[in-house]
Amino acid sequence: MSYMLGQRTPSADTRVIEAGGEVDMGAAPELRDAVGRAIEEGVSLLVIDLSDARFIDSTAIGILVSARARLMEQGGRLELVCTEPNLMRIFQVVGIDRNLSIHPSCDAALQAFAGAR
């Protein structure tokens, strides 16, 4: 397995999903489940932490695009953590960098959300 997935719940309405390695078709079913559960549980903030991701493929991007739309519909937010330039460029290409912020660290994402409340 070339990907790693983990998740934690820093506060009742916040979920952090950490996706590392090669976030591709192999990771997609597990990532889709984790994201879907968080949205169904009504989180206000979902952070996808891609700090340790080396690659992201079209299926995983599709999951992020869909998650962003579903969260916006229910008044929540999706935020990304990423510093890898190649991934950042892909996010620009598919426009996922609009309507959400991309942060350099998970702490920065959580603080920005807390500050915006």
Partner: protein, 209 residues
């Protein structure tokens, strides 16, 4: 059996002229689809002969629309079920025309399969995954992107990034996810808008057959 290269080139030129006379939008659209398809095909690792076949398949993918009344192609509203049934015949009709031209049997197959879907819910044959020729899978993605980013009688064009994100949403259901990935790589490299359009129009392809 293969014809003389010049004969095939002439035939392809005639077919492109036929498409243009019937529906001007389709020719410009097809040329853009050729440019995208070739770039994706190179990244997929297709051989030179496969790339040439891909180019022709991309150029002629909508050939069968010459049998669809122009009023339906230009209708500024959603199609009714009968009209939709006619439009959905175009891959079969295009392939039928090309199958009669010796040397273009492979191109006919690409054209027939360009509306098949990765999950098997496409048409005309309901093929899925590897059953669909890779060239058809490439044309499907490039065709969809080009259609989404063009103004049509019934809707405005989507911005490139929004169209790219739509492709990602359909990766693994409508589209081969690996092909979408390669397409995104091309977008990343070329930038936009209109990166594809600086590539010479595919009418020049005939000279390389």
């Amino acid at each position: 059996m293969r014809r003389e290269p010049g004969a095939v080139r002439d035939q392809v030129g005639e077919l492109v002229g036929l498409i243009g006379a019937h529906d001007g939008y389709t020719v410009g659209h097809s040329e853009a689809v050729v440019a995208w398809s070739y770039a994706v095909g190179e990244r997929v690792g297709l051989s030179r002969p496969e790339l040439l076949e891909l180019e022709l398949g991309a150029l002629l993918h909508d050939l069968g629309k010459v049998r669809v009344p122009g009023a339906i192609l230009r209708k500024p509203a959603p199609l009714d079920p009968g009209e939709l049934r006619l439009v959905r015949m175009h891959p079969v009709w295009g392939a039928e025309i090309l199958e009669d031209i010796p040397g273009l049997e492979g191109v006919a197959k690409i054209v027939r399969c360009h509306h098949e879907r990765w999950d098997g819910s496409g048409y005309p044959d309901g093929l899925e995954r590897g059953e669909i020729p890779v060239a058809s899978r490439i044309v499907a993605v490039c065709d969809a992107y080009e259609a989404m980013t063009s103004d049509r009688p019934y809707r405005a064009a989507l911005p490139p990034a929004a169209a790219a994100s739509e492709l990602c949403l359909a990766a693994g259901t409508q589209f081969d996810p690996a092909v979408v990935q390669y397409f995104i790589e091309v977008l990343k490299e070329w930038g936009w808008p209109g990166g594809a359009r600086v590539v010479p129009a595919a009418v020049a392809i005939g000279g390389r057959i």
